[in-house]
């Protein structure tokens, strides 16, 4: 009795409309933000991104933006590291400072009842960080230990080798943390300079969700960010993607090989991006049973998980995937991945498969908009890739409008089996023509 019922319900599952009301707020001082106002819970989630990120590290100062960001919470204005943390904890506010290749991010949550005080100490961290030498050195010790431990971490080794092969000579081609040498050499002046370069008003994006009005948010933005310098450092040039087809092996004594693979990807603002997203969802993307999961895990039992994704970044785009498999299976898995890349590039998706992917994507989209934290984060992410608030209402129609011809044309352009580059860390077997590291 179950199956007919499921079929009927699946047919009825027309994509729900995402009802999210985004207000575009401009503060009296001219700072823009997206607000999703909801007074159900007495707190505000605030997501701030300063575009630029670790790609702004100057030549020879790799790791400066990372160490600077990690030291933002270690003292500000008249508070040393302990006093700053005590102040934040007494308000039960949470601030997370993070950096990655394209941005410095700040994720904050603050209670309505003490929001003014919380904003004041967050302002102090962003605008008046102390960067005391003792704090820098303490955090530097932690960063150095991470760098050294990454030298024996197979995942980190694989990621680094892939990045180096993809973006040689560009900041994208090395670890955000920097090297032991570059981090050891960073001075307090370098950290102050990294702050001046990476935390400025010209590339800031703000998403807010929760218990605040547009007027209150405007005042908050000026208070929080108004005193920052107008402009930060210029961004480096776009990266040339230099991946070579083939298999690079890094010998490492572990029972299971870590395998990364990929080639050039597609820019987020490309007209074909959405079609490429559909292709990836079918081939190896997350959320539904992809071809690669079906072939490598379900049918052959060769891995616990395999996944791919579009990785568009400001300065260079990759299409990348990963998995791990017992060493003796490595050669076979690589062949299966190549075969699946070839199959989808040549034949594209089937009509049914496209319908299933559309069902999944359009059904899943409205479910994203759940919770203040998630909403603030989505609001910032959309602004960073240049989408307007209207996109939320239009997006499922755009997915549904994609034709099989269009999607399969993009599959043949995006997926390039002949360009596939693999990095394998482990003691893999059965790989022909591997290049030893």
């Amino acid at each position: 009795m179950l199956r007919p019922l499921i079929a009927v319900l699946a047919l009825l599952a027309a994509p729900a409309f995402a009802e999210v009301e985004v207000e575009e707020v401009t503060s009296p001082g001219g700072i823009e933000a997206w607000l999703i106002e909801d007074h159900t819970l007495p707190f505000l989630a605030l997501e701030i991104r300063f575009e630029g990120g670790t790609a702004l590290d100057p030549e020879g100062r790799r790791g400066a933006v990372n160490l600077m960001t990690a030291t933002l919470e270690e003292g500000a204005a008249d508070m040393d590291a302990t006093a700053f943390a005590q102040a934040r904890e007494a308000l039960a506010a949470s601030f997370e400072f993070d950096s990655y290749s394209d941005a410095v991010s700040v994720s904050a949550a603050m209670l309505t009842e003490n929001r003014e005080e919380a904003v004041e100490i967050l302002r102090a961290a962003l605008v008046e960080p102390r960067f005391d030498q003792g704090a820098i050195d303490r955090v530097r010790g932690q960063v150095l230990s991470i760098i050294r431990s990454d030298e024996t971490d197979p995942q980190a080794l694989a990621a680094r080798a892939f990045a180096e092969a993809a973006f040689p000579g560009h900041p994208y081609g090395s670890a955000d943390d920097g090297t032991a040498e570059s981090v050891a050499a960073l001075t307090r002046e370098d950290i102050v300079e990294a702050h001046r370069a990476a935390i400025a008003r010209d590339w800031v994006y703000v998403g807010a969700a929760g218990d605040i009005t547009a007027e209150e948010l405007g005042a908050l933005l000026d208070e929080l960010l108004g005193a920052l310098p107008e402009t930060g450092a210029p961004r480096p040039d776009r990266a040339e993607i230099a991946l070579e087809p083939g298999v690079e092996v890094i010998e490492f004594d572990i029972p299971q090989s870590i395998i990364l693979f990929g080639h050039e990807g597609i820019a987020r603002d490309d007209d074909d991006y959405l079609a490429a997203y559909v292709v990836d969802t079918a081939l190896g993307g997350s959320g539904r049973q992809s071809r690669l999961m079906e072939e490598v895990r379900e049918r052959r039992g060769l891995t616990y998980g395999i996944g791919t994704g579009l990785f568009p970044r400001e300065l260079g785009d990759l299409y990348q995937g990963s998995l791990s498999t017992a060493n003796p299976n490595a050669g076979e898995v690589i062949e299966v991945v190549r075969d699946e890349f070839e199959r989808i590039a040549e034949e594209g998706l089937t009509e049914d498969e496209l319908a299933e992917v559309k069902e999944y994507l359009t059904g899943a989209y409205p479910l994203r908009f759940d919770g203040n934290g998630a909403l603030a984060s989505i609001a910032v992410g959309m602004q960073m890739v240049g989408l307007g608030p209207d996109y939320i209402a239009e997006r499922n129609d755009l997915v549904d409008a994609l034709t099989l011809e269009e999607v399969n044309r993009v599959a043949s352009e995006l997926i390039r089996p002949e360009e596939l580059s693999f990095v394998v860390v482990g003691r893999p077997e059965g790989i022909e023509g591997a290049v030893a590291d």
Partner: protein, 480 residues
């Protein structure tokens, strides 16, 4: 500054709490149901928890609870292998499962209108699994790959497994959830079906639904789909072998060339939260927060990283949600030039000083205020609230215990914290582990952190450090 801040915290009123909107009831067949309303988004999380985890496995069959969890995504008498997940995906939903020592849980997140279908399919696989001999062998290979990925490829995970085995001599908590490799490799269809038959029944399960749903509607749907499944009269309260008195300190030295991060972890056997009796666990929860709950202001980082430079990182961890005795842990990552022995001595000194100096009341106020605020922040995520209830109700607690917990935390006195901690910090009831590389001093250490996301507002670990407590890295196997 410290005094001023504390005064500020004291002057603040406790935040007004929104109605938690939690309803609970039971069906006639013994299925317990918890409904958590959150009408902000049109989504619902449907979770079915079984009071059966790896600690309920028969001897020699380690990993069977987790292997069975994988097999529940295969065929039933109504559904083909994979059809459950495909159906959820076709609705835009997500589904998965996870296994721990005390429970196995299955969940889907979908548009609220599909709740009935989720129940129909979940009820179907509670009793009607129809496994194919070939499917189950392929899936066993997947589980072995999972073990390699989680454990065998990671010296920190192997270290943790060895420490737990040393900690629990007799209780099955000493056996890894994913199973010992040689046993997990030999599990059979009969093993899976035996475990399934023994534990999967409505009177051994807890249904938690959170999101845009109303209790009456959930009750009607639950009656319709789960109601017809009869209770299994053979299900009895869990009685596992308990630990004998530990009479001597246990120490482990684990060496592996892949270690980039020597550190010391010590775990003490500690009492867990019990129904109607949670004060001791609440005191230990606060003790862990005071000792290690903040990377800047907690006692261990203050003493080991700020006052002295013995450590790169130091923390404490405790999780009271456990059916039987749990662990209280401390961890220190020595600074470059400081040996593990010196790091351990510095840690012991810091703990002794803390017991001698007593709880700083300003710090306790701040910690308690964060626990209070965490209740508001937690309401932003109905899925995680559902998990809190599911884990508690499968670990021997009741809905009432979950709801009493915040108040108990607020009522704990400094003396109770000091006394509870003093009782736990007995090295004759502990395992101390050193993790080192085989190449002496080749690498400097990297910290791990121990924040319990369910307990108050834990700090994120310092930039880039792993957020998992090194002592507990494999307690819950999240599947994908």
């Amino acid at each position: 500054m410290r005094r001023l801040i504390a005064a500020l915290a004291l002057a603040l009123p406790m935040p007004a709490l929104a109605d938690e909107a939690v309803t609970s009831f039971a069906l006639d067949n013994g299925l317990e149901v918890v409904v958590i309303e959150d009408h902000r988004a049109p989504a619902a999380v449907h979770m079915l928890w079984y009071r059966a985890g790896s600690a309920d496995e028969p001897p020699g069959r380690s990993g069977i609870a987790h292997y069975l969890e994988h097999l529940l995504f295969k065929a039933t008498d109504e559904l083909e292998a994979g059809e459950f997940s495909d159906t959820v995906a076709a609705l835009g939903g997500t589904d998965n499962a996870f296994t721990s020592y005390d429970y196995t849980a299955y969940f889907q997140r979908v548009a609220a209108e599909h709740l009935g279908l989720m129940m129909e399919m979940e009820a179907d696989r509670m009793t009607d699994l129809a496994l194919d001999a070939e499917d189950i062998l392929t899936e066993r290979d997947v589980v072995i790959e999972e073990r390699r990925q989680r454990t065998d490829n990671d010296p920190g995970a192997l270290f943790s497994e060895q420490r737990r085995a040393a900690q629990y001599l007799n209780h099955p908590y000493g056996v890894p959830v994913i199973g010992w490799a040689q046993e997990a490799d030999a599990l059979t269809l009969d093993d899976a079906l035996e475990f399934y038959g023994a534990h999967y029944a409505p009177n051994n399960a807890v249904l938690v639904v959170a999101g845009d749903v109303f209790p009456g509607e959930v009750r009607d749907l639950a009656e319709e789909h789960y109601g017809p499944i009869p209770a299994d009269p053979a299900i009895a309260p869990r009685e596992r072998p308990q630990e004998p008195p530990q009479l001597a300190e246990r120490r482990i030295a684990f060496e592996d060339p892949r270690v980039g991060q020597p550190y010391v972890v010590r775990t003490y056997l500690a009492p867990e939260r019990d129904a109607g009796d949670q004060r001791e666990a609440a005191a230990l929860t606060l003790a862990a927060a005071l000792l290690g709950g903040s990377a800047q202001t907690a006692v261990l980082p203050q003493k080991l990283q700020f006052e002295n430079e013995d450590a790169l990182y130091a923390t404490a961890f405790y999780d009271g949600l456990s059916y039987d005795d749990t662990l209280f842990g401390v961890l220190v990552v020595p600074a470059p030039g400081v040996t593990l022995e010196e790091g351990e001595e510095a840690l012991d000194r810091a703990l002794a000083e803390f017991l001698e100096e007593g709880v700083d009341e300003d710090q306790l106020e701040r910690v308690k205020f964060q626990f209070e605020a965490a209740r508001i922040y937690a309401q932003d995520d109905p899925g995680s609230r559902a998990r809190t209830y599911g884990a508690a109700l499968t670990s021997g607690l009741t809905v009432r215990d979950v709801q009493d917990w915040p108040g108990i935390i607020q009522s704990i006195t400094p003396e109770e914290i000091e006394d509870a901690l003093a009782r736990v910090l007995d090295r004759d009831r502990a395992v101390t582990g050193y993790l080192t590389t085989t190449e002496p001093a080749a690498f400097e250490p990297v910290p791990a952190s121990a924040a319990d996301p369910a307990a108050g507002a834990p700090p994120p670990p310092p930039a880039g450090l792993p957020a998992e407590p090194a002592g507990d890295a494999a307690t819950v196997l999240e599947d994908s």
